[in-house]
């Protein structure tokens, strides 16, 4: 008998999804209660995850197709927290656009379920199932504001390109299966022989598919359009939550089945990393829409995360996870600010709309100042430490080129962050924005800004949690 306690979070969340769907269909005007219940669901799931699996060192289930270890638990918790905060701050935005419906929380819950399956997967098929579940939910979420042309366009674009990448991924999986004779990661890892020429193709296809999902250069083309077109709260969801899951899968693929083939994939990852860092920094300079700019900046940040993965060491993986955690907090804070730029039921998302913000809204501007300097990686803010750990891991492997290119692109990236700060602080002021924001929005902004600002006082805690993750 399998120990089903270990997959209790997944079971609970899927039952809740079904229940909420039924509730939403049969009860009229139930969007508020669905919202609250789904928040509750996420909380309970997170608690179950902490209780049931956090102390587990490594357990496998269902013929070793699902793995529960410290990495999966940690990533699930980050995903759940991210999902919770996205859901909690999106209600007022959705109400403004009159799309405060029951589908939104259910879709978010289903994509979270898909991600949790992905995170725990130890088998190609399980992994693919989770991936498709989260993707399907995300397609719909992207078009969620269906009366707006841009939102529909974003959803369609995302669907076409993502389906293409899924196809590549699936093709890669089938090649790998053909050469190893199994879909299980552990067995593949024992069976693979690096002399097989075609196997490299399989790995490349899988990596390309995954790179699509995390929008690493040169597979990033969809990101700016989709991020710009989707409703802002969905963009927030896109920029943080799927990346966590995709990163986990990236780590699993590289370090479980393909660890012996490190010579084949290391160069690819280094290339992806450098291209993303440089391109993300350069392309963001000319942007005028904040959401597009965030899209490019998130491409850059993914580059740094990949730099940690390229090292093929436990320190590297840990630093990537630290990076993505801090990145989640920073992005959450940034989007909370963005959601506060509201005047008479209209949201503003151009950089010019921030002009002179510091005169009318000193506290909001101060938060933005902290967040942007942190994103730029200036000490003593959290963003600096994220980069610091990554480059520490990179330099341990004497990959000087990667480190120097990465650090130089932070200087380029600093330019566009500074540009926003300049617009906020040095330019002429415009009209005031509304200040009657929901309590949760204020809460998430305050807490995340304080975390960013004061991270340097207790940097050890995060490292301690992450240091339990030893894949290799």
């Amino acid at each position: 008998m399998e120990n089903l306690n270990l997959v209790l979070p997944e079971i609970f969340i899927s039952l809740s999804i079904m229940f909420l769907l039924i509730l939403g269909v049969f009860k009229k005007n139930s969007s508020k209660i669905t919202f609250n219940l789904s928040l509750f669901t996420i909380l309970i799931t997170a608690i179950i995850t902490i209780n049931e699996t956090f102390s587990v060192s490594r357990e496998t289930l269902f013929n070793e197709s699902v793995v529960i270890d410290s990495m999966s638990s940690l990533m699930k918790i980050i995903t759940l927290i991210g999902g919770f905060l996205v859901l909690v701050i999106s209600s007022s935005y959705l109400k403004t656009f009159k799309i405060y419906n029951i589908e939104y929380p259910v879709l978010i819950l289903s994509s979270i379920l898909g991600m949790m399956v992905m995170i725990s997967s130890n088998d190609l098929i399980v992994f693919y199932m989770g991936l498709e579940l989260q993707s399907l939910a995300l397609y719909v979420l992207a078009t969620y504001n269906r009366d707006q042309l841009k939102s529909s366009e974003a959803g369609l674009k995302y669907f076409v390109l993502s389906a293409l990448s899924s196809g590549l991924l699936l093709y890669g999986c089938s090649l790998v299966y053909g050469f190893s004779g199994s879909t299980n990661f552990d067995i593949i890892s024992n069976q693979l022989n690096s002399n097989e020429y075609v196997l490299t193709f399989g790995i490349v296809f899988i990596l390309v598919g995954l790179a699509f999902k995390i929008s690493a250069v040169p597979f990033h083309m969809w990101a700016p359009d989709v991020y710009e077109g989707s409703p802002t709260t969905v963009t927030l969801f896109f920029t943080i939550v799927p990346k966590i899951a995709a990163l986990t899968v990236f780590i699993r693929f590289l370090y479980v089945p393909f660890l012996n083939l490190i010579d084949q994939w290391q160069m690819i990852i280094i290339f992806l990393s450098i291209a993303s860092m440089v391109f993300g920094a350069v392309a963001a300079i000319g942007q005028t829409n904040i959401k597009r700019l965030i899209a490019y900046s998130s491409i850059g940040h993914i580059g740094y995360t990949l730099a940690g993965l390229a090292t093929a060491s436990n320190e590297g993986i840990q630093s990537s996870i630290i990076y993505i955690s801090i990145y989640v907090v920073m992005n959450l804070a940034l989007f909370s600010c963005l959601l506060m730029l509201r005047r008479k039921d209209q949201y503003y998302e151009n950089i010019e709309d921030l002009s002179g913000l510091s005169k009318n809204h000193p506290l909001l501007s101060l938060c933005l100042l902290v967040i942007l300097f942190s994103l730029a990686g200036i000490p003593p803010l959290a963003g600096f430490f994220a980069k610091f750990y990554v480059f520490k891991a990179v330099l341990e492997q004497s990959m000087f080129f990667l480190a120097i290119v990465g650090l130089l692109s932070t200087v380029v990236a600093a330019f566009y962050y500074l540009r926003i700060i300049k617009i906020i602080y040095f330019d002429k002021e415009k009209d005031k924005y509304d200040t009657d924001h929901s309590l949760w929005l204020k809460f998430s902004l305050t807490v995340s800004t304080i975390l960013i600002l004061l991270y340097f006082i207790f940097p050890s805690q995060l490292i301690e949690v992450v240091s339990r993750i030893n894949i290799i």
């Binding site: 200036i378 480059f391 341990e396 040095f426």
Partner: protein, 493 residues
């Protein structure tokens, strides 16, 4: 010594800033905020004086050391002072209250935020000078960019945006390579603790590259020719108090870094690259002095003179002679006082006439005599007249240089003459001559607070000019030990 006196020095301005943060912003005329900031910085100055009094001059061991685990098994929060760093800390705590008194007229809006930025800046600068761990040093070194960027950008002149960006990106670009070097040092030796690194030493084969990486950061910050171009822009556009902080303290971070890290950690590489430093320093001295001669803008002239003076400093450090290094330190302290004073004197007439151009002025001596006398004192100190602190520094540096390299010393001496030329010519054009500009007839002489701060600066300039012993006694043992350590390292390799 159990009381964490250095940490309290670092934290006190931040506490003051936090306090200000929770008061109401009343725009330009916010006396409460000013008194709070002034009180904080004066207390900090007194604490630092206490630090100097209780400092033991007979040893080069780091004192008042605090060592706390910060990131498990990786970085310790370690601070401490020796004879070299303590003077810079006192300079910082001395200059900051003067800046705060001086913001009477130059800052019209958001005075509270300006004071917060200055206070935070002070705590970062003190942190730089007492950090004994490379990562902690880097944190403070880089963090200072944020408040300075805002000071230039929000309260600066017309082209403030350009200058603020140039300042920020230039220095950041220089510093990232230092970060690579710091992490590499950690992987080579297993520690970033400076004291331990002094004992262990770094393998010769890495030293050159690491030295260059540190150099790239310090050269931009010093600034050395040819990466000095951010400095004139930043100085011209920054408000007076910002210029003072920049010239008096920020530039000294790099000079201090050269002594503490470049010399201390990479002795072999320092020998190797001495010709490079000599060349760049000599070019900086001659070339920027010539540029300074041709300036129309007073602030720009003083900015270029800063580059030239910092050229002397780098020259002195890399003579690797007792006199040279002592001279450099004294020159840095003296330049901190003198350039601060010069920027403040320019600020005084700028506040009244709103022009920094030399051609606006002329014949000031007949209308504002007090101002003219003090300006003369500072101009003479800047050109290194005996009896002022500027002389001691330059003289010691040239003495060290003559011992090491005759040619370089001779060329550098020409720089002294050029320095006299541009300073005296500036003084002549501004103060003497006929009073042509009619507006100048009604100009007011120094008011009480201006008189007070300029006298505060004049006193140590004259005092240390006649009696430099307190400075030299403080640094002597540390410098001697630094050179001994250097020589043993060279001899053993």
């Amino acid at each position: 010594m159990n009381f964490p006196i250095l940490s309290s020095l670092i934290l006190l301005p931040i506490v003051g800033a936090l306090f200000l943060f929770f008061t109401k912003d009343k725009g330009g005329n916010n006396l409460t905020a000013k008194y709070v900031a002034l009180f904080t910085t004066v207390v900090n100055f007194l604490v630092s004086i206490y630090l100097w009094i209780s400092f033991d001059q007979s040893t080069s061991i780091f004192q008042f050391v605090e060592d706390r685990v910060w990131i498990e098994g990786f970085i310790n929060y370690k601070v401490g002072v020796d004879g070299i760093s303590i003077l810079f800390i006192i300079l910082t705590t001395f200059i900051t209250p003067i800046c705060i008194i001086s913001v009477n007229n130059s800052v019209k809006n958001r005075l509270r935020d300006f004071l917060i930025a200055i206070l935070i800046m002070e705590s970062f600068m003190i942190g730089v000078f007492c950090a004994l761990d490379l990562v902690v040093f880097y944190l403070f070194f880089e963090a200072g960019l944020i408040p300075m960027f805002l000071i230039i950008g929000i309260w600066g002149g017309e082209r403030r945006v350009y200058s603020a960006f140039k300042f920020f990106l230039y220095t950041l670009l220089g510093s990232v390579l230092m970060l690579v070097a710091i992490i590499s040092i950690y992987w080579i030796t297993g520690t970033t603790d400076v004291v331990q690194l002094y004992e262990i030493g770094i393998d010769v084969k890495y030293q050159n590259l690491l030295w260059l990486a540190f150099f790239s950061s310090f050269a931009v910050k010093t600034p050395m020719w040819p990466v000095h171009t951010w400095l004139p822009d930043a100085h011209v556009e920054a408000p007076t108090a910002g210029s003072v902080l920049l010239a008096a303290i920020l530039l000294k971070m790099a000079g201090y870094g050269f002594i503490r890290f470049s010399l201390g950690l990479f002795p072999i590489a320092s020998e190797v690259f001495t010709p490079l430093i000599y060349t760049l320093s000599v070019i900086a001295i001659i070339f920027t002095s010539l540029i300074a001669l041709m300036q129309e803008d007073m602030k720009k002239l003083i900015a270029y003179s800063s580059v030239a003076h910092m050229g002397f400093v780098t020259l002195g450090i890399f003579t690797l002679q007792q006199q040279g290094i002592e001279g450099s330190i004294i020159q840095m302290i003296s330049h901190g006082l003198v350039s601060a004073a010069l920027f403040l004197t320019v600020g005084v007439v700028y506040d009244r006439m709103h022009s920094r151009l030399i051609s606006t002025y002329g014949g000031l001596v007949s209308v504002i005599p007090k101002y003219s006398i003090l300006f003369m004192l500072f101009a003479l100190a800047s050109l290194g007249l005996p009896g002022t602190s500027g002389f001691i520094g330059e003289f010691l540096i040239l003495m060290g240089a003559f011992k090491d390299n005759f040619l370089v010393a001779v060329i550098a001496s020409i720089g002294v003459i050029l320095g006299a030329a541009y300073m005296l010519w500036l003084y002549k054009r501004v103060i003497f001559g006929k009073l042509i500009n009619k507006d100048l007839k009604t100009i007011l002489d120094l008011n009480r607070s201006e008189y007070f701060i300029l006298s505060c600066l004049a006193a140590p300039i004259l005092f240390f000019g006649f009696y430099p012993d307190p400075l030299i006694n403080t640094i002597e043992v540390s410098v001697t030990d630094l050179i001994n350590m250097h020589n043993t390292n060279i001899a053993s390799k």
